[in-house]
Structures are given as structure tokens and as C-alpha cells.
């Protein structure tokens, strides 16, 4: 199956979802996305970082340096309260969007 192109803005949603489960560093988020999507989502890992920085600037996530599992320094991101609220809101929007699109596509 070909790689899917993520529509604009959904990357943020996915990252928030991943972080909802617990704090993680950038590489970890990338791996997790990979696993969760069963390898269908093959994004260039680097593109995560602009998204992460953007969300950090908006206050949705917070970043902190800490020791990683391999005793290396890594920057860990966690969801903030605002981020959590946004996640819920975005998830709702997404579900609604998908529902509407599906309805139109299948019933028109």
C-alpha cells in the first residue's frame, strides 16, 4: 500500500493523542506513530519537529530535558492542560468531519 499523505493539521492531532498516553521524546513519538498506524504512516520523521515546536509555542505541549532510557539526554514532551482540551476538541471535530464526509460519499 502506498504511503498516505497526511492532510494539513492532522499530524498535530496524532501527536497530541500519542502524548496523551504519557510523555515522550521526539523519536519515541515517531516510533509510536509508526506502530499505531501499523506502518501505513511513513512520514519523514523530521517533519515532526516543526509540528512539535509549533504546538509548544501555542502552549499545547511542554518540553523538558531528561535522561532517556539509554542514559542519553533527550527532550521529553508532555501534554498540558490546554493541550488536553484541544485534543478532545480536535478529536470531536475530526470524528464529525469523517462522519459527514463518509455520509456524503456513500449516500450521495
Amino acid at each position: 500500500m502506498e504511503k498516505l499523505d497526511l492532510p494539513q493539521g492532522t499530524l498535530d492531532l496524532l501527536v497530541l493523542r500519542v502524548l496523551a498516553a504519557g510523555e515522550m521524546h521526539g523519536w519515541g513519538i515517531a516510533q509510536r506513530l509508526n506502530v499505531l498506524s501499523k506502518e501505513a504512516l511513513q512520514l519523514q520523521e523530521g517533519t515532526l519537529y516543526p509540528a512539535l515546536y509549533r504546538m509548544e509555542a501555542k502552549g499545547w505541549i511542554a518540553a523538558e530535558w531528561a535522561q532517556s532510557e539509554n542514559n542519553r539526554k533527550a527532550k521529553y514532551y508532555s501534554l498540558t492542560k490546554i493541550g488536553r482540551k484541544r485534543l478532545d476538541a480536535e478529536k470531536e471535530d475530526w470524528d464529525r468531519l469523517v462522519g459527514v464526509v463518509a455520509q456524503v460519499l456513500h449516500n450521495a
Binding site: H25, G26, W27, A30, Q31, Q44, E45, G46, T47, Y49, P50, A51, Y53, R54, E56, A57, K58, G59, W60, S68, N70, R72, K73, A74, K75
Partner: protein, 878 residues
């Protein structure tokens, strides 16, 4: 959403200050990511090198990711701009010569523009401090048979007043000078007698106290109360509110101050000058009581239009006014003009400001052309550096941004320097222009609007100038630039043409400016020669106020003594009695006719009563007949008339011996004819005037006298004190003033002249420097070529002549263009020139010569340098 955006804003803003930390942070983070990916790859069996590259591939383009990440964090463009500016400053610092010359050139242009624009703004644009000013109009008269404006005479005003249809209120004002004596100290003030209608029309409320009450306008009780101008109140009474309700001694009478007008009335030039004190006057006082001796006072008429009525409608209605029968035959062809009030109060020379703005625009253009030239030169010098930048991946947009940043730094520096220049300009011209515009000292203050103007001008210039080299760079072919051999002969033809074009433009603009200045000089010369009809150099007026009103005998005695004693003072050549200075307004108006010949018509004249030797003292030429022998207190009645009156009444016949009927049963014999005094200012047509001996004044007022003094040269510093002492010793109760007779009306011309002269000199300077720079650069560029030529045997002066010829050719082309443009634009100047044709050939020729000489001088040094080039040095040079 908004809160998100605000948070982002704050984050990005803070990020600007932590740039370096954030960079390190990001680098560390990305590195950590790659390490982890690499480790994972190794774990799945790849060897270290493959693991590394696989990680990189998986990651994506690191550099591009970094760019994107940076943009997510902070305003990259802002950082970029800051970086551009820092680079611009650094690179400018490395070429101080270039920086200084461009900044200096632009400072002159920007400074002059700022100064002129802010002065002009105050002169041309301020709004009048009256409510609903748009509905306020002035009514003037235009004499269609003589094709010039004419004052509104009282009978006409009375007729206009009857037209209430177009106007909510209409009123008249008549001004005269009066002495205000405060604590024994006299000052001369302009007093406006106003009707109730006028105050109603203007609709201004007093700042303190009250306005005039209705009964104060009644005939008989006129002028017993007064309104003070705010400035007069400050200056004369120290702004003390207790002066309201007090009596002041004004014009020999005690009058009660009832109110102070608001300060805003003084912000408008021209308006402020027209009145220091307001006195009420009955409308009926303008009426003609006895048709044999009509009232011909000049009235300034203002009115407020009814809502919905236009200027044209009001004018049409007034035009239907029947001509009053008392108006003389030669004043029948009058039509009224209704104009917006601001046109009446506009400073007389405001038309000139457009000339000024044009001149300063030329200067600005010249300095910009100069700066562009220098910038283009520098761009060419830097083309390799810029080409390399392009090659290394910089976009043209980035280069353009860089160049614009540089030019903006230059213009902002120039702007700062220019403000200093502007301040200097105010100081120099402020005396002339300030006096003319607004005495409340508002000129010279660099207020916020001025600074805003400067900023706009600077940034605008910076943008404009930056685009010139930027455009050049934008079109540059990268390959050619890099391949270019440093030793190639000169720069592209196109660039040369551009620079030559700039030189031509500068020469043309300088020509225009100089021609304008030159024409003004000639006009001013002619004006001075025609002058006011008499000699104002070293002529002084002693004005004595006699509030106690002596008897006729003691009055004349006093006059005799004053004339005799003042004559004895050192430096005084001649003295004479008079009842007023030669060039005042609002003096006595009478109707005269040739005795027994009413068919020839009556002429409205003004009268002066003068003592013997008056004409000689003020330098008024005696054309026919003789002067008065004495004061002539009794018969026979004699009179001296001026040229204008002689022409009107007698045409070419000899008026001597004829008898003039002055009204009031006074018939005089004409014993002399003198030249005209241009009473309302040198540019106006002289009015008919006659002089009676001091003892035969029509309306004897014993309250003041004037003694005119002619000095041999410039007065000693102690002269005024001497005069006062002398007069005090003659009569201690007399209040004395002493001033020089000056033609105020030439003031406008003097101001213009000064401004244009300064700008012309600056323009010439800047244009010459520009020409010099271009020539010098061209010679430097062609060094190799010259070296080759010399090596091949060319004589040095051939080279010199070549360079000179080229420079002069450019300048000549510019001059010709400038002459042509001046020819076309000279119609604009015609309105301010006096008896000088805007196509005056002497001026045009003179300017052309001056500029060509300057151009030759500018080319001389580079030309000599070209001739002295050593062939070896030139050939080796890079």
C-alpha cells in the same frame, strides 16, 4: 484560538532574545533523535555506516527541517531583517568615505525638504479656529474696468448688508492703529472696529469675560468697551485676569476691557496680525449721512452663509445690488466676489509656498540623484561579492533586501543629520519666515508632525534608493559576473548611461533652481528700485502721543519745537511734521473735485497733513511746483497733490494754480505735485492722495503728532534714547515711540529671495559634487584605457581635453534640458515676479554660464588625474 495566537506571539517574541540557546537546543535534540534512530537500526542488524545513512534518510532533509523548525519557533523574517541591518552597518563602516558622502548629500536634501514641508504645512493647511469655517466667507470687490481688486467702500457695504437672503450674518470691520498706554509705556496696536454682524458671523466666543452686549454697539457709545486679543493680553497685561472690568487707555480714551478672545485665534497667520483689540461699532456708522460728503471708509466684510447657500449663489445675489448713487463715476464697474474666509486670511505669499515646495523638491531630487549615482558606483564595485553570494545559494530577494537595508541605514542617518540641518535652516530663515507667518514662535519647534514627515521621507527615500542598485543586481547575469575579468575595461554601457543620466538630471534640476532664484533676484531689484515711491533707507518716525489734548496754540508750538530740537540731534539730516507716517492704512478718505466742475466727477482720496520739508525728509520727489513754506495755520489754503490724483483729475494738463474743492467748504490752490506713495504696499496701484499744510488739517486732532526724521546714515545706538529725552524735555506728558520706516510688503519678496538663494546654492553644490564624483569614478575606471593610450603615444592634454569634453557635454545637456523645463514652468513664477519677464534672457544666459563653469571646475581635477596617469601603473592596476 485567539489565546493560542497570543501565546504564540509571546513565545516567538521571547524566542528572539534566546536565539542562540534555542539553536543549540534544536541541534542537540535533532542529534539525539538521529542517534536513537541509528542505534535502533544497528539493533536490527545494519552495520554502523548503513545504520547512520538509513537514519538520515528516514529523517529527511536535515537542513530544510531545521529551517522549518526555526520558522515554527520564531519570526525568521524578523531575524533576517535584523541580520541584514547589522550586515549593512558593518559593510558601511568599512567604507567610511562612501557613507559620509551619501549621508551628507541626503541630509541636505532631506533636511531642506523637512524644513520646507513643515513650514508650508503651517502656512497652507491649518484650519481656521472658527466654528463651521466652511460657511464663513469674505466679500471683496473687483474693479472690472481696471481689472484688479478694489477695497469695499462703505456705501457698497451698506448696500450688501441689506441682502439678508444669502447670509445668516454679515458684518464689517475697519482697522486703524492706536496707542495703548500701560504704566506710562506706550505701544502701537492694531485696533479693529467691528460691527455686531461680524462677531455673529465669526461666531467665536470669548475665552474669558464676555463679548459685547447689544447696546454697546449703539451709535454714540462706540468704542467704550474692548475685547483683547489673547496675545495682547499676555504681552501687555501679563495674562492677569483682573484686567477684565478695568479701564485701559487706548487711542487717547479710556475703554473698559470686557473680555479676552481665545488663544486659538492666534494660531492662524494673517488673522492674528489683523487685530490686537476689538472695539464695537454701530452698523449705522458706516452709512452716509450727508450725500455731499459720503463715507468712503474701507470696510473688510465677512459673512456666514445660510445653510444650503453656495458661494456662487451668494455672489450672484450680491452682484444684483444696485450701485449706490454716491459712488464716483470711476468706481462704477465693480463686481463683488465672495470667497472662502481662509483665502482672505491666507498669508499673502502663500502662493509662494508652492514655489518653495517646487524648489525644495528640485533640491531633494538632486540630492537623491546624487546618492543613487554613488550607490550605483558602489554596487558595481561590489558586484563580485554579490555575485558570489548568489552563487552560494542566496536568492535575489535576499540580495535586494540587503541592498535596501543598506540604503535605509544611510537614509535614516541622513534623516537624523537632516533634522539638525532643518533646525539650522529654521534658525537662519526663521527670522524671515517666522515673522511673516506666525509670531507665536511656533516655527522652529520640531514637533511630532515634523518628525513624522522626516521619518516618512527617510524611509521612502531609503526604499526608493535601495531599489536602484537592487534592480541592477536583479538583472545581473550570474555567470558573467563571476567570469568577469577584473582587468576588463570599465563597466557595462547600461550602467554608464544610467550614471550619465543622473548627472544630466542633476544639472537640469540645478538649472531650474538657479533660474528661479535668478529671476527672483532681478524682480526684487526692480521692486526695490520702484519701491514705495519714497526713500525708506534711514527714514525714521517719531510718534508722540498727547493724551491730554493740548490747545491748538500749544500744540503747534510743540510741533515746531520738536522739529527744531530733533533736527539738532547727531546724525539727523532733516525733520518734518506730519499727522501720520507715509505708508499707513485707514487714513482719512475724502472726496475732492475741481472747484466748480462737478461734471468732471469726484475722486476719493486720502489726506495727509504735513509740515514744511516733509517731502524732502522722506525722499518723495517733487515733480512740479513747490513745497509748503510753513505750517500755514490760516489762509491762503494750499494743497500739494500726488501724481495719481493729478492724472485722474487733470490728465495731462498742468494742475498748478488750479483750485481743488476738498469738501466742507474748503477750497485750496494746488501749489505742487509730488510722486506717488504706494500706500498699501509696493505692488499695489498708487491711490490718489493730497497733502495739506499741517496747520490746515481737515480734522484737527491734537492728540498726536509725527516727526519724520531722515538720517545721514545708520543710526547710533543711543539715538532712540536721545529722541525720547529730547521729547520728554519739550513736553513730559507726551508719550513717544520711535521706529524705522520699513516697507513691510517687500518682506515677502525678501523671504522668498533668501529661501531660493539658499536652495540654489545648495543645489549647485550638490550637483557639482555629483558631477565630480561621477567624473572621478569614470576616470578611475578608465585608468587602464588611459594607460594604454599614453603608452601608445597620446599626449596627456588630449586625454585631459577628452575628459573635460565629456563632462561638459553631460553638463551642457543637463543645462539645456533645465532651460527648456524652466521655460515651460515659468508661467508659475510669473505671478510672483515684479516687472520681470519669466523669460528674461539675461538670467537664463547667466545661469547657463555659472553651471558650465561649475561643471568645468568639477571635471578639472579628475581630468588632470587622467592626464597624469602613469602607463605602467595603469596597466598593472587591477
Amino acid at each position: 484560538m485567539i489565546t493560542d495566537w497570543l501565546r504564540q506571539l509571546r513565545f516567538r517574541f521571547m524566542a528572539m532574545f534566546r536565539r542562540r540557546d534555542l539553536e543549540a537546543d534544536m541541534a542537540e535534540e535533532l542529534r539525539a533523535h538521529l542517534e536513537m534512530e541509528e542505534a535502533a537500526n544497528r539493533r536490527s542488524g545494519l552495520d554502523p555506516e548503513d545504520a547512520h545513512y538509513a537514519a538520515l534518510r528516514q529523517f529527511g532533509n536535515v537542513a530544510s527541517i531545521q529551517e522549518q523548525a526555526r520558522e515554527a519557533r520564531c519570526w525568521v523574517w524578523l531575524e533576517q531583517v535584523v541580520k541584514d541591518f547589522r550586515f549593512a552597518v558593518r559593510s558601511l563602516g568599512k567604507s567610511p568615505g562612501y557613507t559620509v558622502s551619501v549621508v551628507a548629500t541626503l541630509a541636505i536634501g532631506i533636511g531642506a525638504t523637512t524644513a520646507m514641508v513643515s513650514i508650508a504645512r503651517q502656512a497652507l493647511l491649518p484650519s481656521l479656529p472658527f466654528p463651521d469655517e466652511g460657511r464663513l466667507v469674505a466679500v471683496q470687490e473687483f474693479n472690472t474696468s481696471e481689472n484688479q481688486p478694489c477695497p469695499v467702500f462703505a456705501p457698497r457695504y451698506v448696500a450688501f448688508r441689506a441682502h439678508e437672503d444669502s447670509f445668516l450674518a454679515i458684518g464689517g470691520k475697519h482697522s486703524e492703529q492706536m496707542n495703548l498706554v500701560v504704566d506710562g509705556q506706550p505701544s502701537a496696536l492694531t485696533v479693529s472696529w467691528v460691527t455686531q454682524g461680524l462677531l455673529r458671523a465669526f461666531g467665536v466666543n470669548t475665552a474669558l469675560g464676555r463679548s459685547f452686549a447689544d447696546d454697546e454697539f449703539r451709535q454714540g457709545s462706540e468704542g467704550m468697551v474692548a475685547l483683547l486679543n489673547f496675545r495682547t493680553w499676555q504681552q501687555q497685561f501679563g495674562g492677569d485676569p483682573a484686567v477684565i472690568g478695568r479701564d485701559i487707555l487706548l487711542g487717547g480714551k479710556l475703554r473698559r476691557v470686557v473680555g479676552i478672545m481665545p488663544a486659538t485665534l492666534n494660531s492662524w497667520p494673517g488673522l492674528e496680525k489683523s487685530w490686537d483689540v476689538c472695539l464695537p461699532r454701530a452698523e449705522e456708522s458706516f452709512d452716509t449721512v450727508d450725500p455731499h460728503y459720503p463715507n468712503f471708509e474701507n470696510v473688510q466684510v465677512a459673512a456666514r452663509l445660510k445653510p444650503g447657500v453656495t458661494l456662487q449663489q451668494a455672489q450672484a445675489e450680491l452682484a444684483l445690488t444696485p450701485m449706490p448713487s454716491v459712488m464716483p463715476t470711476f468706481l462704477q464697474a465693480l463686481t463683488p466676489r465672495v470667497i472662502p474666509i481662509r483665502d482672505e486670511y491666507r498669508a499673502e505669499g502663500s502662493r509662494l509656498f508652492w514655489v518653495f515646495l517646487g524648489a525644495v523638491g528640485c533640491l531633494y531630487a538632486i540630492s537623491c540623484a546624487n546618492a543613487v549615482n554613488l550607490m550605483l558606483v558602489r554596487t558595481v564595485t561590489r558586484r563580485r561579492e554579490l555575485g558570489v553570494r548568489l552563487a552560494l545559494g542566496g536568492s535575489r530577494v535576499q540580495l535586494v533586501r540587503l541592498l535596501i537595508a543598506e540604503s535605509m541605514v544611510l537614509t535614516v542617518l541622513a534623516g537624523a543629520l537632516g533634522l539638525l540641518v532643518a533646525k539650522g535652516g529654521y534658525a537662519v530663515l526663521g527670522d524671515l519666515i517666522g515673522r511673516w507667518l506666525n509670531d507665536s514662535g511656533q516655527i522652529g519647534v520640531l514637533d511630532r508632525p515634523t518628525l513624522m514627515i522626516t521619518l516618512v521621507v527617510c524611509l521612502g527615500t531609503g526604499l526608493l534608493l535601495g531599489l536602484a542598485p537592487a534592480w541592477r543586481i536583479g538583472r545581473a547575469n550570474l555567470q558573467d559576473v563571476l567570469k568577469e575579468d577584473a582587468g576588463s575595461l570599465g563597466d557595462s554601457r547600461r550602467l554608464q548611461r544610467l550614471r550619465s543620466g543622473a548627472v544630466v538630471l542633476q544639472a537640469a534640476l540645478a538649472t531650474i533652481l538657479l533660474i528661479g532664484g535668478g529671476l527672483m533676484v532681478r524682480s526684487f531689484e526692480r521692486l526695490q528700485r520702484t519701491g514705495v515711491g519714497f526713500d525708506t533707507s534711514n527714514t525714521y518716525d517719531m510718534f508722540g502721543d498727547l493724551p491730554f489734548g493740548p490747545s491748538a496754540d500749544s500744540f503747534f508750538n510743540l510741533g515746531d519745537r520738536a522739529v527744531a530740537e530733533l533736527r539738532r540731534l547727531p546724525g539727523v539730516q532733516a525733520t518734518a511734521l506730519a499727522d501720520g507716517p507715509p505708508m499707513r492704512f485707514g487714513c482719512f478718505s475724502r472726496m475732492v473735485q475741481i472747484e466748480g466742475r462737478p461734471d468732471l466727477g469726484k475722486i476719493g482720496c486720502s489726506e495727509d497733513a504735513v509740515g514744511p520739508g516733509y517731502f524732502a525728509a522722506i525722499g518723495l520727489p517733487l515733480r512740479l511746483g513747490r513745497d509748503f513754506a510753513g505750517i500755514h495755520r490760516g489762509d491762503p489754503r494750499v494743497v500739494v497733490i500726488n501724481d495719481a490724483l493729478a492724472r485722474r483729475l487733470f490728465l495731462r494738463a498742468n494742475p498748478l494754480g488750479q483750485r481743488l474743492d476738498l469738501g466742507f467748504d474748503k477750497v485750496c490752490e494746488i501749489i505742487g505735485v509730488v510722486g506717488d506713495v504706494h500706500e498699501v504696499g509696493a505692488r499695489q496701484v498708487p491711490l490718489p492722495h493730497y497733502y495739506v499744510p499741517f496747520g490746515q488739517r481737515t480734522s484737527p486732532k491734537n492728540h498726536f503728532l509725527h516727526v519724520l526724521l531722515r538720517l545721514t546714515g545708520k543710526p547710533d545706538t543711543g539715538l532712540e534714547a536721545e529722541v525720547r529725552k529730547t521729547m520728554y524735555s519739550i513736553e513730559p506728558r507726551m508719550v513717544t515711540q520711535f521706529w524705522k520706516l520699513e516697507d513691510d510688503s517687500l518682506f515677502v519678496e525678501r523671504g522668498t529671495l533668501a529661501v531660493l538663494q539658499v536652495m540654489s546654492v545648495l543645489a549647485l553644490l550638490v550637483a557639482t559634487i555629483g558631477l565630480f564624483a561621477v567624473m572621478a569614478y569614470a576616470v578611475a575606471q578608465r585608468q587602464r584605457e588611459f594607460g594604454v593610450r599614453i603608452a601608445l603615444g597620446a599626449a596627456p592634454d588630449i586625454l585631459l581635453r577628452m575628459v573635460l569634453r565629456r563632462g561638459l557635454a553631460l553638463a551642457a545637456l543637463g543645462v539645456v534640458m533645465g532651460l527648456g523645463a524652466s521655460w515651460g514652468a515659468s508661467r508659475l513664477l510669473a505671478s510672483v515676479l515684479y516687472e520681470t519677464s519669466p523669460y528674461d534672457p539675461a538670467t537664463y544666459a547667466g545661469v547657463a554660464i555659472i553651471l558650465l563653469v561649475a561643471a568645468a571646475a568639477a571635471c578639472w581635477l579628475p581630468a588632470r588625474r587622467a592626464a597624469k596617469v602613469e602607463p605602467i601603473v595603469a596597466l598593472r592596476a587591477e
